[in-house]
């Protein structure tokens, strides 16, 4: 599997400095404070596949996404894309070559498009930045891209505010495809959209993925959307991946108690009246996370070891209860 992986993420960690200003610390005798948003996250994405990260707010999904595309330097760990490390590609030439192959689609299509630019300029930006085409060819390419995402070539003359949320997300997709990116990071691409529009965008993304053989990192809090889109899934809790596996298997047989809890919490549209374990508690404050396994205060299977020791990822699950065979 490893040789076919386009994206390899190893031991990614990110700390944010949340200390008070220096002078305050001096007078109030406080120490520096760090928030560990992402801790020891590793995964691989095979070429042409979709890997999804799910988790609740504050679990570190978006921070991982930003580190993978290089918007945020990791505190530790490495992101390798097609064998080239994002961190060690020191000369700007090879880094730029790498950057062209990575694009990102953001959550809020109202904030991710420059309101003062016409759509054609928004979409042409990556083409011009990487110097892929010149003159008339750019205009032609923009028209093709607009048609590809279900808009009209004439729409390029409009401004972003003239479009609805779903249409704007289509523009963002066209921009991501403009530079022939192979790897697209989608951070909650449909959570700002209505369900019928969400269905249009998800269908479009799947069609384009098939057509161009795109590799996707899909970030979402919506388990049903993830189930629909992903081949493999990583479940995050408080900065760590607690369970990872094949999408189908993970939904059919969730093993980590947190994954089970998440799946149980999803409203039941089939109205089968299935028995559900009530969910307890909320995500704790990441500034002062619980000791050991960070899920232990909410976990029905926690014991003394869980309070002490951080569980290692064994066979796709990081849980002492699963490891010891205590989880039912």
């Amino acid at each position: 599997m490893s040789e076919a992986s386009l994206v390899v993420v190893r031991g990614l960690r990110r700390d944010f400095d949340i200390s008070r200003p220096w002078l305050n610390r001096l007078f109030e005798g406080q120490r520096r404070l760090f928030l560990r948003a992402v801790d020891d996250v590793s995964f691989e994405i095979a070429k042409g596949c979709t890997f999804a990260l799910v988790g609740e707010s504050g679990s570190g999904k978006s921070t991982v996404a930003r580190m993978v595309v290089g918007l945020l330097p990791p505190s530790d760990g490495e992101v390798t894309i097609d064998g080239i490390s994002m961190q060690s590609a020191s000369d700007s030439g090879s880094r730029q070559k790498l950057r062209r192959r990575i694009q990102m689609i953001f959550q809020d299509p109202y904030a991710s498009l420059n309101p003062r630019w016409r759509v054609s300029r928004v979409i042409a930006e990556p083409i011009n930045t990487f110097g892929l085409l010149k003159g008339e060819a750019v205009t032609k390419k923009v028209g093709e891209l607009l048609t590809l995402v279900g808009l009209h070539p004439d729409d390029g003359d409009k401004f972003p505010h003239e479009f609805s949320g779903g249409q704007r997300q289509r523009i963002a997709i066209a921009r991501a495809l403009a530079a022939h990116a192979e790897f697209i990071v989608c951070d909650e691409p449909t959570s700002a959209l209505d369900v019928s529009v969400q269905a249009q965008i998800l269908n479009l993304m799947r069609d384009l993925q098939k057509e161009f053989g795109l590799t996707l990192l899909f970030i979402s809090h919506n388990l049903a959307v993830v189930r629909h889109m992903a081949d493999r899934i990583g479940v995050m809790y408080l900065g760590r991946v607690v369970e990872t596996g094949d999408s189908r298997a993970l939904f059919a047989r969730p093993r980590h108690p947190y994954t089970r809890m998440l799946l149980d919490a999803v409203p039941d549209l089939d109205m089968s009246g299935r028995q559900r374990t009530p969910v307890a508690g909320e995500i704790p404050n990441p500034i002062n996370p619980p000791s050991g396994c960070t899920f232990h205060p909410r976990c029905p299977q926690a014991n003394e070891r869980c309070r002490r020791e951080i569980p290692a990822m064994i066979d796709g699950v990081a849980c002492h209860a699963v490891e010891e065979g205590r989880a039912g």
Partner: protein, 343 residues
Amino acid sequence: MTETPSFPEPVISVRNLVVEFATRRGPLRAIDGVSFTIGKGEVLGVVGESGAGKSVTGSAIIGLIDAPGRIAGGEVLLHGKRIDNLPAEEMRRLRGRKIGMIFQDPLTSLDPLFRVGDQLIETIRTHSDLSASAARERAIALLAEVGIPAPERRIDGYPHEFSGGMRQRVVIALALACEPDFVIADEPTTALDVSVQAQIIALLKRLCATRGTAVMLVTHDMGVIAEAADRVAVMYAGRIAEIGPVRDVVKHPLHPYAAGLMGAIPTLSSEADRLTQIPGAMPRLTNVPPGCAFNPRCARAFDRCCIERPEPALPSAALAAREHVASGHRVACHLYTAREDAR
């Protein structure tokens, strides 16, 4: 208008409600002839996409439509008495005592400068003649009831000291403080994570069932409706497209829009490769097409749909028998009122 027999006593009735907003280009009709009733202890879910008029309906019922908006027609009755034409001061007294409200964002519906206890006590004392200490006792009991741990200590906390889920619990305690007969919950769980959402829905449902409170639950999330509501109204472009018992609407939607909406939702159990897609988007309210507002996007539209506006009605008897339609399931679609040959 037939109602499900288990909720015989309507607490709130909305009849032919019309809400208009004055704009430079003339009045804009946000709500166009919406009618429904909610019985004692019943939860009516109102779903629809952004701009369908769900929240405006809720605001109109509690008299919180600000200029340039106004109720241009129809009536709202609470226990059979009209409340849509009450003077502002009388309406203010009604809100809180008879009608409770829960809004989407728990941080903006609590005052950040006051302790949550003070906000609860203020609400309780405004609407009852309890003494300060009795009101505090009552506030602590309420916080305990909505599942806030150590309420006698937390009552002196400020809103920012509570997490999102805990804040929404406080808002629910506020809404239920005076034992209202009717509660409007406008997207109560949209700002919350899924695990917390499940807790809040369960709480809301349990509290309203034990008190016999009628609830109007406004949301865009079909899952929440399936979980919490007894009946559901699907809104589209300011009108009710379909209304009926939740099980029937979710499992066997009749209106093409409702059916498309259900198919568009990815579920945990579905194996479908593609989601059902409704082409286009909801029309702008300035530009609602004549006839059925859904006709430009509807795959089953025929000529009558472009001319005549369908009214919510019981499907014809033959159809009802064939499609297993439950009583009280009404749909605003010519497919179900038209002659058989029109289908």
